[in-house]
């Protein structure tokens, strides 16, 4: 089993995910943000599965490794769908929903194809290597998509507070993970680095819970506050 600090971070993360689902039900927004809630529900399910394998076989076991990376691929896919649902909301008023859906499916297929090409000669079990590669690649695609979405929010002068906050939180979350990815490569010998990524996992449910608690669906931002450009 991992140390007490890792377990505390894990329990806090689970608590925050439950808090988001409870808050969105309480604020009558569960179905409005169905894909965001579905992501956290799936995350809770995978947490239960991962805990089972972790407690039974240990952190360095192959069983936990398989359970972790297969569920991670599923979760990254769910987060991708949640991100596309935010795209559909932003571009919905421009009647570009069909274009967004078509491009999203095409991008997912292209990423899967690219990941398969990267691991096809792997000596490891192909399915495991593919799930691991797809999860990583889809994550970076999500990161770029979030920045593009934020550019669209600025350009279209989106004023729906919840939507803007959800996208900003997602951008921070993805950016934090990208930074930790670089840090792991730079300073993997320091044990503190291993706690950064799980701690970042608490960031998204925390920010989304605060957003859904503080702002109603009718809350609007003043367009001038989105752009800090002197006129």
């Amino acid at each position: 089993m991992p140390g007490p600090l890792a377990l505390v971070i894990w329990y806090i993360g689970i608590g925050l995910e439950i808090a988001f689902i409870v808050c969105s039900i309480a604020r009558k927004s569960f179905f409005r943000y169905l894909f965001l809630n579905a992501y956290f529900l799936l995350e809770l399910g995978s947490s239960a599965g991962r805990y089972f394998f972790l407690s039974r076989f240990g952190q360095s076991s192959a069983e936990y490794c398989y359970a972790y990376f297969y569920t991670d691929a599923l979760l990254t896919l769910a987060l991708y769908v949640a991100l596309i649902s935010l795209y559909a909301r932003v571009f919905g008023e421009l009647r570009l929903n069909n274009f967004v859906r078509y491009a999203a499916v095409l991008l997912l297929l292209a990423t899967a194809l690219f990941s398969y090409a990267a691991v096809v000669q792997s000596e490891q079990r192909l399915a495991t290597a593919f799930a691991y590669e797809l999860s990583q690649n889809l994550y970076f695609v999500g990161l770029v998509l979030t920045y593009i979405l934020w550019g669209a929010v600025l350009k279209l002068r989106e004023t729906r507070t919840r939507l803007v906050q959800f996208i900003l939180a997602l951008g921070l979350y993805f950016s934090g993970y990208a930074a930790s990815f670089a840090l792991v490569n730079l300073a993997s010998k320091y044990s503190v680095v291993s706690f950064i990524a799980p701690a970042l996992g608490c960031l998204l449910p925390l920010m989304w819970t605060v957003t859904i608690l503080r702002h109603s669906e009718e809350s609007r931002l003043e367009p001038a506050r989105l752009l800090a450009v002197a006129r």
Partner: protein
């Protein structure tokens, strides 16, 4: 240019920039680091290539 071709060009541009970012952040060794992108669970060793 039709919408389908525009979508294809957009998809390829996003994919290339994403993989470029991944390579840049991993210092040119994209397969070496583990990315823990979902949830607060402790992460295992990544599968070998």
């Amino acid at each position: 240019m039709s919408r389908k071709l525009a979508a294809l060009a957009l998809v390829l541009a996003i994919l290339v920039s994403s993989m470029g970012l991944k390579t840049a952040l991993s210092g040119g060794h994209a397969g070496n680091a583990v990315l823990m992108a979902n949830g607060p669970e402790p992460f295992p060793k990544p599968p070998l290539r």
